[in-house]
């Protein structure tokens, strides 16, 4: 019966197509897992526990609620994936310590009361992220 369009065939197409493309996606994911060790700086994570501690500080203070990290997050405050390269460790620590600026009308960053050790951990995290191979993104140092 040329030209009919049966619901059962449409359903088969839906299931078959979905399973098929899921499998292709899983294969691409498998390949991804094999290649990222060359790009994700995982050796640093093992060598320096401060990075993981810094990531936790990054998360529990919800930095992503204002900033982006490798372009993901909120777009209210600067990109921090490359802030280590843009500003350097001392500037980052000094900046965090002096917040908020309390300049009237300007966007404000809260004071988080980090210890010196915590600041170092955050910097270690940001240094690690800045060294991930992001295919040359962002286009320039301003992020």
């Amino acid at each position: 019966m040329a030209g009919t369009f049966t619901t059962s065939m449409a359903r088969n197409m839906f299931f078959g197509g979905t399973v098929f493309f899921l499998l292709v996606f899983l294969a691409l994911t498998f390949q991804n897992e094999q290649i990222i060790p060359q790009r994700d700086q995982r050796a640093q994570l093992d060598a320096n526990p401060a990075i993981a501690a810094g990531k936790k500080l990054w998360e529990t203070n919800q930095c992503i609620g204002c900033h982006t990290l490798l372009g993901e997050g909120a777009y209210f405050a600067p990109e921090l994936g490359n802030v280590y390269k843009r500003r350097g460790p001392e500037f980052i620590k000094a900046w965090i310590k002096t917040q908020p600026t309390n300049t009237p009308g300007r966007r404000q960053m809260p004071q988080f009361n980090f210890t010196e050790q915590q600041l170092d951990e955050l910097v270690a995290f940001l240094k690690y992220v800045s060294e991930i191979n992001t295919s040359n993104w962002p286009p320039n140092i301003e992020g």
Partner: protein, 457 residues
């Protein structure tokens, strides 16, 4: 209302609209903070307002989906819900969890909230959209599983239609992919990679199944077109959605440390992602044009058509604008993403939930459709909200283009904050468009209280 147990949907719809209001209010706070930086600081810093804005959105859409499922499934399966009591219980659990979480965000500093709620046991907090404390995340899983159990049992004991099958698959997929929110490795690349399995595979994957099922259900009801025709369209649309959307996940894997082949796979398949949305637009208009009855609920039909058009514009067109890797290199992480996010979420998910509410709420209140005046008010709300979201999107797009130019393309690039100052005018215009949106929302809520002559459902 054909089945008594459908009544539980009403609770979910009311709560959804309540959270919708909260979402918009916090959106307006954030919008103002973009231009008056110290507004409400330090009481409500931007990150807190944003968490409430996005989390309220997610929760109210989930409430809407659950309400829709509780309404649709008995009618599709031609049987009462497996357990209406469980549905009501889960509603209160979910609402309480949502309320406690929002209060936690607003009243406790986030780091303190993390400590209080056992984030040290299994660190999952502090990632975009997945900010919920561990107990809330576990709660979401429990509520979702009980909900799925209830719905699945109902389908199993009754008639199995294509619509309930697609709906169930979407809902199960939603629960399944949420499990990746518990995976948070120290490796930032892997963290981000699997984070998208929640976020992308939700909004550009399984949620679209739910969207398609809801739209198909309402179209059957308001147009009277043969179920067979509508179900075939539904299958075609959801097939196209998944064959483009699953690998389309790759468009998030361009610049986060993942290999470069994703630039090709992501670009090619996400470039095809507008097709299912276009099919959805054709679907909605085609069915309405071929309608076999004049349903008294004109507003619901309007919302259904609106979903078709706006999801195509927001998700399809605005998504395509910045999905190709060479373009995304410049647009990634700018206001362009925000522009797309606003229109896509509104056009696809907000509108489809409002379509369902518009169709089902009058029936749940014992009438076939709202009185004429109430429908006129609702249609005013439709246009106010839709037009203002279009303008919000256009202003954010303009802001994004200017931002990219100043900060990323110009010969002497500006710093982020300097560029932000330059685009402030667009942020002001966006905020005013947001005020119009709130007006539309107020009109929308008012429409529920407009009285007049009605026919019995």
């Amino acid at each position: 209302m054909q089945y008594k147990s459908q009544a539980v949907a009403r609770l979910y719809f009311i709560a959804a609209i309540g959270l919708f209001v909260a979402q918009i209010l916090f959106g307006l706070i954030m919008g103002l903070q973009y231009v008056v930086g110290d507004f409400l600081f330090p009481a409500i810093p931007f990150n807190v307002a944003r968490m409430v804005h996005t989390n309220a959105l997610i929760v109210w859409l989930l409430m809407g989906f659950m309400g829709a499922a509780y309404y649709m499934v008995p009618e599709e399966s031609e049987t009462e819900l497996f357990s209406p009591k469980l549905a009501v219980l889960m509603f209160w659990v979910f609402l309480a969890a949502a309320a406690l979480t929002v209060l936690g965000y607003l009243l406790v500093p986030y780091a303190g909230l993390a400590k209080m709620t056992g984030n040290d046991l299994l660190p999952t907090m502090g990632r975009e959209f997945l900010e919920q404390p561990l107990p809330t995340k576990v709660g979401i899983v429990v509520v979702a599983l009980v909900f799925l159990f209830n719905i699945t049992m109902t389908v199993l004991k009754g008639k199995k239609t294509a619509i309930s099958l697609v709906l169930l698959l979407g809902l199960w997929g939603l629960a399944l992919f949420f499990l990746f929110s518990f995976y948070n490795p120290d490796n930032v690349v892997k963290d981000k990679f699997y984070w998208w399995w929640v976020v992308h595979l939700w909004v550009e994957g399984v949620w679209e199944l739910i969207l398609g099922a809801i739209l198909a259900f309402v179209l059957i009801k308001v147009t009277g077109v043969d179920r067979e025709v509508i179900e075939k369209w539904l299958y075609v649309i959801v097939t196209l959605t998944l064959i483009t959307g699953i690998i389309g996940t790759g468009h998030h894997y361009y610049w986060i440390g993942t290999p470069e082949y994703w630039q090709w796979w992501g670009s090619i398949f996400s470039a095809l992602e507008p097709i299912p949305f276009f099919a959805m637009t054709l679907f909605a208009f085609n069915m309405v044009n071929r309608r076999r009855r004049e349903h008294p609920n004109k507003a619901a039909t309007l919302w259904a058509l609106g979903t078709g058009v706006m999801s195509f514009l927001g998700a399809g067109v605005w998504g395509f604008l910045h999905t190709l890797a060479p373009v995304n290199f410049y647009t990634h992480g700018t206001q362009i993403t925000a522009a797309h996010g606003h229109m896509a979420f509104y056009g696809a998910y907000v509108m489809v939930v409002l379509t369902m509410i518009s169709y089902a709420m009058p029936i749940l209140r014992g009438r076939a459709a709202n009185p004429g005046k109430a429908q006129v008010a609702e249609m005013w709300a439709f246009w106010l909200m839709t037009v203002s979201i279009v303008f919000i999107t256009l202003f954010l797009t303009a802001a994004g283009i200017l931002q990219i130019w100043l900060q990323r393309v110009a010969a002497t690039p500006m710093s982020f904050m300097d560029a932000q100052d330059q685009v402030a005018l667009f942020y002001w215009m966006r905020e005013w468009a947001g005020v119009v949106f709130l007006t539309g929302l107020v009109v929308y809520i008012t429409s529920f209280f407009v009285k007049g002559e009605t026919a019995k459902a």
